[in-house]
Symmetry: C2
Subunit: 379 residues, 2 copies
């Protein structure tokens, strides 16, 4: 309650996430009621909706879930399209807004987009100024190295502003934020700034906003009528999962082999066993090449020019199992009878190395596809 009152002293609207669940440590409804100086009120229509939600799924509701049928007196419920807890939309005596949404991200996002933002926009009608952001996503360059050619933009640009941030320990994002009267004006400002940044650092920008490295690569494969198969060693499923995370991946991603154990590389991908006998085990260029080529037979690619084989092999750590230095990885790319390999060296822990390797493999493919024609036969 003190937090809510303190925040109301600094802002005209609050958005609170979490604490709307059914258990006794979910206290947001109570805190809002106390901050407003009103009691909690039971809403029979909300209880009916809750019972109907459970009935439609053949679940028996626990009685504790009925705590979600209460609201601070005077507040309205916000519908929850992805769960049971209704949100709360309340107003103070002096017209400040309080929104409470669930903490669970899927439920929170849906309620913010469908209820909270429209309510805020309605409040702003007439004094409209919108804020629009755009994120340029980069891979393969560190935050301070990326900031260097952009130093003057980062320190002096005021509209849009540009803020760098590290994402997932693997990407560096540049968040452009514009203030304007409407979407069209904001787009002009953002387009102009994006063009400036691309002129200086465009090589590293693989996507914008929600585009992931995988979604961008799948789009490029689709435009060129190409299908992708993978052979994963150290990445052990991470590369495949990045691709299949994208709805519609099946249009271009066929599947692959997780050759986690070395003998699987030999038995299933026909990697010559002598390639694994050196000081670095399976962590070398010829193994990466043989894995990518082995997909041809194994996955029934029949040497077709519309298939690309992509492989990863390397040492993720924490101790070196292979004999190769931790962080050493090799990527293989096989297409139209040609095989290329790429060596990378990543720092970080085991998870970071695996994730960076998967993204690096996709980035290698992205840069290769940029030079492949979009042509006849493409879907």
């Amino acid at each position: 309650m003190d937090c809510i009152r303190g925040a109301l002293g600094r802002a005209d609207a609050l958005v609170i996430t979490g604490g709307l669940g059914p258990t006794t440590d979910d206290l947001t409804r109570e805190a809002i009621a106390q901050a407003l100086g009103v009691p909690l009120q039971h809403h029979p229509e909300l209880e009916d909706e809750l019972r109907a939600w459970f009935a439609s799924r053949n679940y028996v509701p626990s009685e504790t879930i009925m705590r979600q049928a209460y609201l601070p007196q005077g507040a309205a419920a916000l519908p929850n399209s992805n769960g049971t807890a209704p949100g709360v939309h309340a107003q103070t005596a002096d017209g400040k807004l309080i929104f409470a949404v669930p903490g669970v991200p899927r439920e929170m996002r849906a309620m913010i987009e469908r209820s909270v933002i429209p309510a805020l926009l309605e409040r702003l009608e007439g004094e409209r100024q919108i804020i629009v952001s755009r994120v340029l996503r980069t891979f393969g360059i560190g935050e301070s190295a990326l900031a260097e050619p952009l130093e003057d933009i980062l320190t002096t640009a005021t509209n849009p502003t540009v803020a760098p941030l590290i994402f997932g320990n693997t990407e560096v994002h540049l968040r452009l934020t514009a203030k304007a009267r409407d979407e069209a004006e904001a787009k002009i400002l953002l387009d102009g700034m994006e063009a400036q940044i691309r002129a200086r650092a465009g090589e590293y920008i693989f996507g914008v906003d929600d585009e992931t490295m995988a979604s961008v690569v799948l789009q490029m494969l689709r435009e060129r009528g190409l299908l992708l198969v993978v052979a994963e060693s150290l990445t052990g499923g991470v590369l495949s999962a990045l691709l299949t995370d994208v709805p519609g991946a099946s249009e271009s991603f066929v599947g692959g082999i997780i050759a986690y154990a070395d003998w699987i590389k030999v038995a299933v991908l026909d990697v010559p066993v002598e390639y694994l006998d050196g000081a670095a085990g399976a962590v070398n260029a010829q193994t990466a090449a043989a894995m990518a080529e082995g997909l041809d037979v194994e996955m029934d690619m029949d040497g077709g020019d519309d298939f690309i084989g992509l492989s990863t092999t390397g040492e993720a750590g924490p101790e070196s199992q292979s004999g190769a230095p931790v962080g050493t990885v090799f990527i293989g790319l096989h297409h139209a009878g040609q095989t290329q390999t790429f060596e990378r060296s990543f720092s970080g822990d085991r998870d970071t190395i695996r994730k960076r390797t998967a993204l690096a493999a996709l980035d290698v493919l992205r840069r290769y596809l940029q030079n492949q024609p979009v042509g006849e036969g493409s879907k």
Copy 2:
């Protein structure tokens, strides 16, 4: 700065994460200095350490990174074992503590464990009371259904307290928190509460604290001398990645086939093509069974009794590609010449359905292994 001063009004120690990076929107050092009413001071020894860090990696440091060589006057630097930004340890005139650590999770966690917690414990010396938490992790039951048989514990237990929370939209965790004079006393309290909870809901508890479903299953496989291979359709790598996320997975996880496209199931796993011809495409029990059995030949398992094949097939959505209702999944488990299949129905979006399916497959395997003897020949 206002936030820092406000927080100091409510607490004896603050921990701030983020804002210690090299770019101009990293303002935590400045905010602490302002809150304390002191200037920022350059530390030549920190600058030397930064230059040495870059030199040892053959990187050229940008000059902007040298902003990390400044501290509020009177503050000490906290070493960063996983990055360049030193943390900050400052004290107000009336003895309150301010710690600033990086926002990047790996760097934050290491600094909290190695510097902040020891400093706090040192401050508490003599009035020592420690707080110890333990998390019981469950799968396969919703939050309110789990809370029901535990209602009295959740509402009345004071030491330890028990708090339920949803984790990753897939698990429900019970966080037990005990206050005691030392670790041994805390352990007794936590053990007692854990036993009470297991007596009522133990079936759903698969692990404790950092144990993941995958790490628990890999441990059980290791104890029984069994090796695991997987065939993934809708999960598309997520199941393999959960397993290979665990260091040492290679002791028990050999690899698998990502049979994302239906023709891969036929061509590589020998699933009879007529199994895929029905109204639900590849989403049926016999396809799951055939995929798990197909691993035998494909992954060179040679019908060995020490191999287990685990498969997933289903419809993740958002629209139904297969003809089966979105959320319908089948899991196949093949071991020692026997095959079992399991049908599940999950709600949620595409990502949630894939993730829940991967965990459900591991949970099926976990429950199966509980009935398999730990015996001779186990590693």
